[in-house]
């Protein structure tokens, strides 16, 4: 069995790392705040920061690998039924139902 000094230390370490990196250790309401919205609610041309991914673990991981990781900057290029975003220097098409699971905040703080 893994041997850390104490269970409490381990839990504290996990949470501090995750909180620092904006991961979903706590519930999304706790760390997202009122200003968060999903990617479909953003206007075309706006640049936003990814705050939280609320999809299945596999889909979350693929999104992260393609650049949609927490804290990443994303620009919405085109909205509609499906949307196109600019992330990590590439255009990525996303279905709207997936975009609804990507919670973001405006970079300049506007809601």
């Amino acid at each position: 069995m893994p041997d850390l000094k104490a269970d409490q230390d381990f839990v504290r370490t996990c949470k501090s790392v995750a909180t620092r990196q904006s991961f979903s250790v706590e519930t999304s309401q706790n760390h997202l705040g009122a200003a968060s919205l999903d990617l479909t609610q953003v206007s075309s041309g706006d640049e936003v920061r990814v705050r939280h991914l609320a999809c299945s673990p596999t889909t979350c991981q693929r999104l992260r690998e393609m650049g949609f990781c927490e804290n990443a900057l994303v620009t919405k290029i085109r909205g509609g039924a499906d949307l196109v975003c600019w992330v990590c220097g590439t255009r990525v098409a996303l279905s709207a139902r997936l975009a609804k699971q990507i919670l973001v905040e405006h970079v300049d703080g506007k809601s």
Binding site: D3, F10, A18, Q21, F23, C60, C88, T90, A93
Partner: protein, 683 residues
């Protein structure tokens, strides 16, 4: 280098559409297929390249991947090769990472993973011209210094940077790079413990840590102690709701961003490019569909208008050849075999080569320009309604050329049920082998004077729409009712547009022409000879019609006629249907043999149009031609498709299901067309 030294194997890896195959082709002189959309390469290919010192190395071109955590069959192929688990290939001695210089952030994410394999790594900084055009200033030396592996700037499509790359590939010059990103504390403890259990068999710390991460991710390859530790840590992280895999992705990206920032490399500007302007039209919910339909219509108009000229030349050549053989040889079996068997069978199919090449020219433009991914995006909404994602549309669109590469392209589809559904409906997309059948039957159905080019193009488009629409309906049925589960969401990279390469498009057309002519010279030639024999013996009469009726083929056709009569098909069509079980285009060559028309298209159409039932009624009425067309839209008349479906699904169950449902659907649809048409007063 010593003559006895074993050859080194170097894996070529990278993100989809980074230019791996283009670089592989440039280094090996081979001609692997390339294109401007993610997922062109779905299989591993090997080829020999030479270093600057003359050492021969074996390059392994791998399908594109976003990470070492494979999520689709094509990514699995790449990961297995890199880990040395691929059957028939040794573990690579080094890795050549091909990265898109205009998109370094995401491409270097994969490089950080590949480096943990503990293998020597060389990075080809490809498409530097695209990056510079986007205002990205690259500093290869700084990248090399920071990441600890060599970066060589290249432009694979122009052959630039190849000398430097060949020099860097030399033996002893490549070294494994260190891990530069910082592991988050809780994970570092876990990886340290698991890696120490590996250390006895894996002296490299970097590789041991890489293997520890693989074990945590669910791999079951490793010593018992390490596997047990990994399972315990996974459980621990789960209990503490610590998403360790997310933290790894985050840490890698953090490192890459920081490193690029320190090297002064930005991610370029968005907006104001050709891609943005074109996308504004082709991704528009209304204009986008108009562009798609307009392109398809242009394709079919070209198939009938432009192709008419070379088809006329081929027709003329076969007519001349037939006349020359007739004049040169005395009446007899040999002359009959050459004119009524080989010339009719092979010539009857070769005449359609220009139409097939035009189809491939258009598909080549779509693939090489970057439009294909946009079409998938546009169709995602439709695909979602039938239970698939837009990603499945790329294999389906490839099936317009041929179902075989279409079915193989399903390897890029991540969801297994999605992939199976796509495989099952891919043969319903009208492939190039159907073009000879469609063209002949459309010409037989309506006189040329009444059927202008636009009319033929619209009818052809209708047949394609019928196949595609049915594929969508059946996909819904299979996905929702047979296989169950929901459709996965679309995540698809849209590459920047680029001017299609004349070389790439013409090479694809050339390859298809060779495949088509080889098929005509082998399968169709053999079947034509067999069919000539079966339709000439036993020789019971001097009258050609009675002779055919009494022949082996005629007897078989007569045996089938009771089953085919409800569809409006006679025994001669029955011969064509059976002969074309192997390949659809054989129907045309069979009909040419059956009606003794040599290799002339017009001759066959005239003969079909004047063919009658014993009571004098015409056989090829517009209604019967329509029923036959519908039959060919649906029927799976292609043994190669069955074989590739067996390979891709791993057994006979689904190919047999595919064969049965498509044959049943073809019969039922043709019967309905005939029945409903007659009830409405058509003949």
């Amino acid at each position: 280098m010593s003559q006895d030294s074993p050859k080194r194997w170097i894996a070529v890896v990278g993100n989809p559409n980074a230019g791996k195959s283009t670089l592989f082709n440039a280094l090996t002189g081979l001609r692997q297929r390339v294109g401007n959309y993610p997922g062109v390469t779905v299989e591993k290919h090997t080829g020999t390249a030479f270093t600057l010192h003359g050492e021969a190395v074996e390059l392994i071109d791998l399908p594109g991947m976003y990470s070492m955590a494979a999520r689709s069959p094509d990514e699995e192929i790449a990961v297995k090769v890199l880990r040395g688990e691929s059957v028939g290939l040794p573990k690579p001695d080094a890795v050549l990472c091909v990265v898109d210089a205009s998109n370094l952030e995401r491409n270097l994410f994969l490089v950080t993973q590949v480096m943990e394999l503990g293998l020597p790594v060389l990075v080809a900084l490809n498409m530097v011209d695209v990056a510079e055009a986007r205002g990205i200033r690259l500093h290869p030396d700084q990248l090399s210094e920071k990441l600890g592996v060599a970066f060589i700037p290249t432009q694979a499509h122009r052959g630039k940077g190849l000398v430097e790359l060949r020099a860097a590939l030399g033996q002893g010059l490549l070294k494994p790079g260190p891990r530069q990103w910082t592991m988050p504390p809780p994970l570092a403890v876990a990886v340290g413990q698991i890696a120490s259990a590996w250390r006895q068999s894996e002296p490299s710390e970097l590789r041991a840590e890489g293997k520890a991460l693989e074990l945590l991710a669910g791999s079951d390859v490793g010593p018992d102690g390490a596997r047990k530790l990994a399972t315990a840590w996974r459980e621990r992280f789960r209990k503490e709701a610590y998403d360790w895999s997310a933290s790894v992705v985050h840490a890698r990206y953090e490192y890459v961003r920081k490193m690029l920032g320190e090297a002064g490399i930005g991610s370029g500007k968005l907006g104001g490019t050709w891609t943005d302007w074109i996308d504004a039209v082709v991704l528009h919910p209304v204009a986008g569909w108009a562009v798609l339909v307009g392109m398809m219509l242009t394709l079919f108009v070209s198939i009938f208008s432009i192709a008419a000229y070379p088809m006329g030349w081929i027709d003329g050549a076969f007519t001349w050849l037939g006349g020359a053989i007739q004049n040169a040889l005395p009446t007899g079996m040999l002359r009959d075999l050459l004119i009524d068997g080989i010339l009719a069978g092979v010539g009857g199919v070769i005449i359609f080569l220009p139409q097939i090449l035009i189809l491939f020219f258009f598909l080549g433009l779509l693939e090489d320009s970057g439009y294909l991914a946009r079409a998938a995006f546009l169709l995602d909404r439709v695909m979602h309604r039938v239970g698939l994602s837009g990603k499945s549309f790329i294999p389906l669109l490839s099936s317009y050329a041929c179902a075989i590469p279409g079915i193989m392209a399903t390897r890029t589809v991540e969801d297994p049920k999605d992939r199976l559904t796509t495989i099952l409906v891919a043969p319903l997309m009208s492939c190039s082998a159907r073009i000879p059948v469609y063209t002949t039957l459309l010409a037989a159905a309506v006189p040329v004077a009444l059927f202008p080019v636009w009319g033929k193009a619209a009818a052809m488009l209708g047949l394609y729409v019928l196949g595609t629409g049915t594929a969508f309906v059946l996909a819904w049925l299979f996905r929702k009712k047979l296989l169950g589960g929901g459709s996965p969401p679309l995540i698809l990279e849209l590459p920047p547009y680029r001017m299609p390469s004349f070389q790439t498009v013409s090479l694809r057309m050339w390859e298809r022409a060779i495949i088509f002519l080889r098929r005509a010279g082998t399968v169709i030639l053999a079947l034509s000879i067999v069919l000539w024999f079966l339709s000439s013996f036993p020789n019971t009469s001097n009258d050609p019609t009675e002779k055919l009726a009494g022949s082996f083929a005629g007897q078989m056709g007569h045996g089938l006629e009771p089953i085919l009569r409800p569809l409006g098909f006679d025994w001669r069509i029955g011969i064509g249907l059976v002969a074309s079980l192997a390949a659809r285009e054989v129907f045309v060559s069979t009909m040419s043999i059956v009606y003794h028309v040599g290799g002339e298209e017009e001759g066959l159409v005239t003969a079909m149009r004047s063919a009658t039932w014993p009571n004098g009624a015409l056989i090829y009425t517009p209604l019967t031609c329509l029923a036959l067309l519908v039959f060919y839209v649906y029927a799976l008349q292609c043994l190669s498709t069955v074989a590739v479906a067996k390979r891709e699904t791993g057994g006979w169950k689904w190919p047999i299901f595919m064969l049965l449902y498509m044959t049943g659907l073809a019969y039922l649809a043709a019967w309905l067309v005939q029945g409903v048409g007659r009830a409405l007063g058509f003949s």
